[in-house]
Amino acid sequence: MLRWLPENVSTFGGEIDSLFYIIYYLTGAAFILVTVLMILFLVMYRHREGRKAVYSHGNTALELTWTIIPAVIFVALSFMSVTTWGRIKAHAPPADFQVQVTAKQFNWEIVYPGPDKKFGTEDDFQVDNDLHVPVHKVVHVILKSKDVIHSFFLPNLRLKQDAVPGRDILVWFEVTKPGKYELPCAELCGFGHSGMRGWLYADGPDDYQKWVQETWPGKSQARVTGGS
């Protein structure tokens, strides 16, 4: 399945992929075990004249074995998942860069705090669908929605978070490789859901400054329609 996963470019994506692979190999082994046994039994114990089936109602030792082994594996998987889950969802590292993303039918409205690093001030800059962030920096996204539930999905970052109207949800990530990554909406949000898509640009420090110089207007609160 390795080649089907999109390239990972976030700091925590590797952990998610490892968990994915652990589960993949475990379930793969279980699948092969059960399927091979099933085919074997179907062939070995097919009906033949003169042979009667074994009269058995079960085997307690065997049943306990196949209850306890999966139970132990499931508990182990839970504990392995908890650490990664906590790192991604509960313990965001301090922000190097902040941006506000407001989902609306059917665009991502992106607000940069401007030089004063505060939202809701004169020097904010707002653009639709173009999310520029510096690479190798911890980015905090304050995720909001204006209307219905949307979902902020960055496949290459292994990141997804629903945007819920009435809530400000903190999302963080750190991109490890400069580039342009697709930002689709992953939660049904109406007739324009399909095609609601933005771009994440992970820029090197120079590129980010260059984009700011080229795109941000001198005067405040200007609106630029982005997208490509």
Binding site: H47, Y55, S78, D147, K160
Partner: protein, 585 residues
């Protein structure tokens, strides 16, 4: 060996026979068998509609924004010269899921086989409340008609997904669908009433009307599964009904239960919906597990492996199903600590499912396996449930779910579980057809039907895992709008072609079903040499089911017992020399 067989057909001739006339025999019947058949036909009819909607979706996904052949007649703005607009696409998957869950699997597995089998298999003459039963079907039919009528109102049918997440579903402005969504809500409320009447009836019947000697732990597992399903329905549906009423109030009367501008909470809908929704998943799959257990045992000619473990794992699933709903909401904005708790409970509920799978395997071990059509479909169910169960472990892990949530991985998973139920459904139809209709279906065509269905089912749904791993979102209308999905498009085309072939593979079934209904070989009382009580009466059973009420002496799966020469030993057969034969093992 002296023995007395309390088979019904001999005595059936003595049972009072009442001519009821056409209306009370076929339409407004209070006979559980006729009501079961009515539910079966309702479900099969809806299956054609739900399947057609799926085919239209598959066309759109393979060849986006091109005209669907044969659909040029659909007027604008629903379709444009056969081309599906995005709004209609959203309606297609909403109605496909709604119809398949509420109007196909539930009517057939719970309404149809539940009705037909419960009284027969516990040795009762009918349901506890025959008139309530009649009402349950007709109310269910009204709900189905209301749902279908939503296709014909301005704005089209509901388009907010079968999960109807608020606030998308709570305000007409967000979807442009007005009465379609209202009718969807109203239909499900009515259907809830129908299911509630059915479940009360099932529970009462199982508790009170078991034949002498039919203890709880002599009940066939299919009856256990239907009993537990009825309890789940009784407890889960009121929650859905309440949530739906709140949603309707938000839409029509200006309340704001789920609309944040008015102080409402969108996540409240998700909590209520999934509090119903997850037990609902088990409502769908438990009867399929029960059917599979009965059929595997019968055609392995062997007692089910670990009967008590099978019954208790279903009971465990029923209890645990109330504490796993939050795994649908890991990325919803719910507190991450709750995510961890729900991950733990979800991992726990996987254990009884694993037990069931291993016990099915244990049942095959040492058997004398007959590959009849019902057996093949039951094995198909096990094989699909194995894949669906294992793929569920991925999304139970919260971090992995961050990536695969709302992708085709989820679509693959729930189709292996829920669409996989269709294998148990076909197994049940082939198995009980002789009892239901007094004629036998053609075995060769049944096998052809199985091979084709199994092949194309897997070719359709397995590649969805790969799409999901590639990040392909669900519920998108045109994958080509995304650069990262364009390389996956050949898979979409492959799946669409497979899905069409899967649909065509049902032709042998339809032909076999209707041909056998009228011209099939007359069925004998117990064509499969099975042990449970429904086989101890004529095919089809008379009004009142049994001549004399059967007496039960043993567990339901005493195949290949050393006590008798034959490899089956019916529950109601008394072995004269053995005074202890009645004692359960």
């Amino acid at each position: 060996m002296s023995e007395t067989t309390a088979t019904g057909s001999a005595q059936a001739a003595h049972a009072p026979h009442v001519e009821l006339g056409f209306w009370r025999t076929y339409l407004f019947s209070t006979d559980h068998k006729m009501i079961g058949r009515q539910f079966l036909f309702l479900g099969l009819f809806m299956l054609v509609i739900g399947g057609t909607l799926a085919m239209m979706m598959r066309w759109e996904l393979a060849w986006p924004e091109t005209a669907v052949p044969g659909f040029r007649w659909v007027p604008e703005p629903y379709m444009y010269e056969g081309i599906i607009p995005p709004q209609t696409y959203n309606a297609l998957f909403t109605m496909h899921a709604t119809i398949m869950i509420f109007l196909v699997v539930m009517p057939i597995m719970v309404g149809g086989f539940g009705n037909f089998l419960i009284p027969l298999m516990i040795g009762a003459r009918d349901m506890a409340f025959p008139k309530l039963n009649l009402l349950s079907f007709w109310v269910g039919l009204v709900a189905g008609l209301v749902m279908l009528s939503s296709f014909f109102v301005p704005g089209g049918p509901a388009a907010s997904g079968w999960t109807a997440y608020a606030p998308l579903s709570a305000k007409t402005a967000y979807t442009g669908v007005e009465w379609g969504q209202n009718l969807w809500i109203i239909s499900l409320i009515i259907l809830g009433i129908s299911s509630l009447m059915g479940s009360i009836n099932y529970i009462t019947t199982v508790v009170n009307m078991r034949a002498p000697g039919m203890t709880y732990f002599r009940m066939p597992l299919v009856i256990w599964s239907l009993f537990i399903t009825a309890i789940l329905l009784l407890l889960a549906l009121p929650v859905l009904t309440a949530a739906l009423a709140m949603l309707l109030f938000d839409r029509l009367f200006g309340t704001s239960f789920f609309i944040p501008e008015g102080g409402g909470e969108p996540l409240l809908w998700q909590h209520l919906f999934w509090f119903f929704g997850h037990p609902e998943v088990y409502v769908l799959v438990l009867p399929a597990m029960g059917v599979t257990s009965d059929i595997l045992s019968t055609f392995s000619r062997k007692p089910i492996f670990g009967y008590h473990a099978m019954a208790f794992s279903m009971i465990a699933i029923a209890f645990l199903s109330w504490v796993v709903w939050g795994h649908h909401m890991f990325i919803s904005g719910m507190n991450p600590v709750m995510g961890t708790a729900f991950m733990m409970s979800t991992m726990v509920i996987a254990v009884p499912s694993a037990i069931k799978t291993f016990n099915w395997l244990g049942t095959l071990w040492g058997g004398s396996i007959r590959f009849t059509s019902p057996m093949l479909f039951a094995l198909g169910f096990v094989s699909n449930f194995l894949i669906g169960g294992l793929s569920g472990i991925f999304m139970a892990s919260t971090p992995v779910d961050i990536f695969i949530h709302d992708t085709y991985y989820i679509v693959a998973h729930f189709h292996y579980v829920v669409a996989g139920i269709i294998f148990a459904l076909f197994a049940a139809v082939y198995y009980w057809f002789p009892k239901m209709f007094g004629r036998t279906m053609n075995e060769s065509w049944g096998k052809i039907h199985f091979i084709l269905t199994y092949t194309f089912f897997n070719l359709t749904f397995f590649p969805m895992h790969i799409l999901g791993v590639g990040g392909h979102m669900r519920r998108i209308y045109n994958p080509l709008q995304y650069e990262f999905l364009q390389p996956l498009q050949p898979l979409n085309i492959f799946m669409t072609v497979s899905a069409f072939l899967l649909a065509l593979s049902q032709i042998p079934f339809v032909a076999n079903f209707f041909w056998s209904l009228f011209a099939g070989k007359k069925a004998e009382e117990n064509p499969w040499r099975a042990n449970t009580l429904e086989w101890a009466t004529s095919s089809p059973p008379p009004h009142g089911n049994f001549g004399a009420v059967p007496v039960v002496y043993r567990a339901p799966y005493e195949f290949s017992s050393p006590e008798v020469k034959e490899d089956w030993l019916p529950q109601n057969r008394r072995l004269g020399t053995e005074s202890t034969a009645g004692r359960s093992h």
